[in-house]
Symmetry: C2
Subunit: 365 residues, 2 copies
């Protein structure tokens, strides 16, 4: 691969989850699931006790080690996506669980402010109005300094029983997002439907389905500044960009660039060079945000390259795009889409945990 440019550009990974939390977090969640729906037992549950040392160990041997080894400066960090599992319990269960998970993200971002910035899980629940998420979103942004949220378009976990994301029931949440000036990553959680493998089918289907809901709808007429990031390279969308352009035309929607691309962005969690080449060749550079989702869906080394499948920086470095596009993908777009990110970076500039200008090293972790 070509030698990466050594400049002042930051590399921001917009898609990281806390997948290495201490076991006690999982135990808490298992108790929640076991105690549901008994209100007395649920009320007796206390948040797991996790020390700063435990957090540091889980991060320094996990995400931080890998992101440093790959020259990634800052990760936009949220609770484990599959762990959200909004289908477990009810809205109250989801509220308690979201609080615990988001508080842990806040503590990590406080310990390593130059390396992690927070995005929250929302207390969604099947059949419950997304309005119930407004309070937790507000708390996370205003009190914890978070810069966005993850929005699950299918809280039922693979049964798709809730209305499309263009439905008016979502509007109270969108109104608050716009007021707070934070985007959402559209990210489903674990599948409890045996037809869908979580990361091999449900995630990609969620991305594809949400995008098509946006094609059909007219959401950004009502919310011109609302912004969504569709992860995993947009599911099937860029590969089928001709189909989507054609469907939009047949459905009498405006051209996609005008209909959606001021508001919809794709991440780079596509784990091979040709996929990244397609993504960056089809989708305008200003709509692509660097991401890896490390310690995530695919953790092994690609025998064809000798590097980790999820080492997406290598693919971006090798993609046939110009330097300006690469800078947008690594940094500029993240700063624009996550409008509150600049403020976070200014506040943390010079923090000893920062790793700006760190070289791209071997990633054999």
């Amino acid at each position: 691969m070509p030698e990466p440019e050594k400049d002042n550009r930051m590399i921001i990974d917009c898609h990281g989850h806390y997948t290495t939390a201490p076991r006690s977090l999982e135990d808490f969640r298992a108790s929640q699931a076991a105690f549901f729906p008994d209100p007395a037992k649920l009320a007796s549950l206390r948040p797991p006790v996790i020390t700063d040392d435990q957090l540091r160990e889980s991060i320094e041997t996990g995400q931080l080690r890998i992101q440093r080894s790959r020259g990634v400066d800052l990760t936009i960090f949220s609770p484990r996506a599959a762990g959200m599992s909004h289908h477990i319990g009810d809205a109250k269960t989801s509220e308690a669980w979201s609080t615990v998970c988001n508080d842990l993200i806040h503590r990590i971002c406080t310990l390593y402010p130059a390396s992690f910035v927070g995005v929250c899980q929302l207390p969604q629940s099947p059949g419950t109005s997304p309005a119930n998420c407004v309070a937790e979103l507000t708390r996370c942004v205003e009190e914890l300094g978070f810069i966005g949220c993850n929005l699950n378009p299918d809280p039922s976990g693979g049964h798709w029983k809730d209305p499309p994301i263009t439905d008016r029931s979502w509007y109270p949440l969108y109104e608050r997002m716009v007021e707070l000036d934070v985007p959402a990553m559209i990210h489903v959680s674990a599948s409890c439907n045996p037809a869908f493998h979580t990361s091999g089918a449900h995630y990609l289907n969620g991305d594809t389905s949400a995008f098509m809901q946006l094609v059909e709808g007219d959401l950004f007429r009502d919310f011109p500044t609302l912004k969504f990031i569709i992860p995993h390279g947009g599911g099937a969308v860029p590969y089928h960009w001709g189909r989507y352009r054609g469907l939009a035309q047949d459905l009498k929607r405006p051209p996609l660039a005008q209909h959606l691309l001021e508001n919809v962005f794709f991440d780079t969690c596509v784990y091979h060079q040709k996929g990244i080449d397609l993504l960056t060749g089809v989708i305008p550079s200003r709509n692509v945000l660097f991401a890896s989702e490390i310690i995530g869906a695919v953790q092994g080394i690609d025998p064809e390259t000798g590097f980790h499948f999820d080492d997406t920086r290598r693919y971006i470095e090798a993609a046939p795009i110009d330097a300006a596009s690469r800078t947008l993908i690594y940094e500029g777009n993240a700063r624009r889409v996550y409008s509150r990110l600049d403020g976070w970076i200014e506040r943390t500039d010079g923090h000893p945990n920062g790793c700006r200008l760190s070289p791209l090293a071997s990633n054999r972790h």
Copy 2:
């Protein structure tokens, strides 16, 4: 685009549906839906009366006109995919509907044997064993000369309530497919779930989900000669080929080439050049079958090219592949995967409706 080679190669489109049937077919279906579940009223329903002239008109002004204009010789032809709607009624309703639809395909293939060869719809129904499809499959192959079937991995129409296609409940159907030596195209039908647009989400999700079910399972150990075609370019799969290779490795499955590629094939219903370039650059040529799905999901002209989105032959002609690969994609793979196709072609060789060697003309239909 380069001038296509003028040789004796056939161009076989493996993915065509009878989407232009006379209105009386739709009326019959509407009556079925309206009469369900009243057995007396359903029994009173007679198949729609459609004359040969009506069939000829619908075909000659529709599929046949377009396929000739694009130099396609033969289409592997089946009932309208969205029309299957296995979620309507019950197994008996599906049986009656499948018989009517398959008989129409048979009549078209009898009228135009050099241009169309049949693939059948199966009388699937949610919660009903796929074993109930064996009789209709047998009838279509042995009596009507069909060479394959379309298998719906989600008869519930977007609710995904049936077991994965690797489940043993499917085995009686697979046993018969193997005995008859016919493959299945894995193709969902209309979505009755508002979360999924039929051709913009559900189709691609169906492709992606079925592939991942095959990654997780071990179906071809039990059926080493069973063959599946995954349409719409494989949904999200080739774009995420690295993810799938990595997931297979993490799940301790054999490498995909060994695990699936003797049995799983992708069609070329990808409606832009860069998508086809990805497909043909990632998936071995022997696993790709030419297809367009004309008068289908996307019917307009691409303003960026001036040609129809679904004129996939243009993309295959322009793809950076060698002549041998192109011949496999156009003809060789279809003959190999649809093992009974050679017999059909031999029987119909010299038929006046054949259009071998027709040039690639303007496709402004």
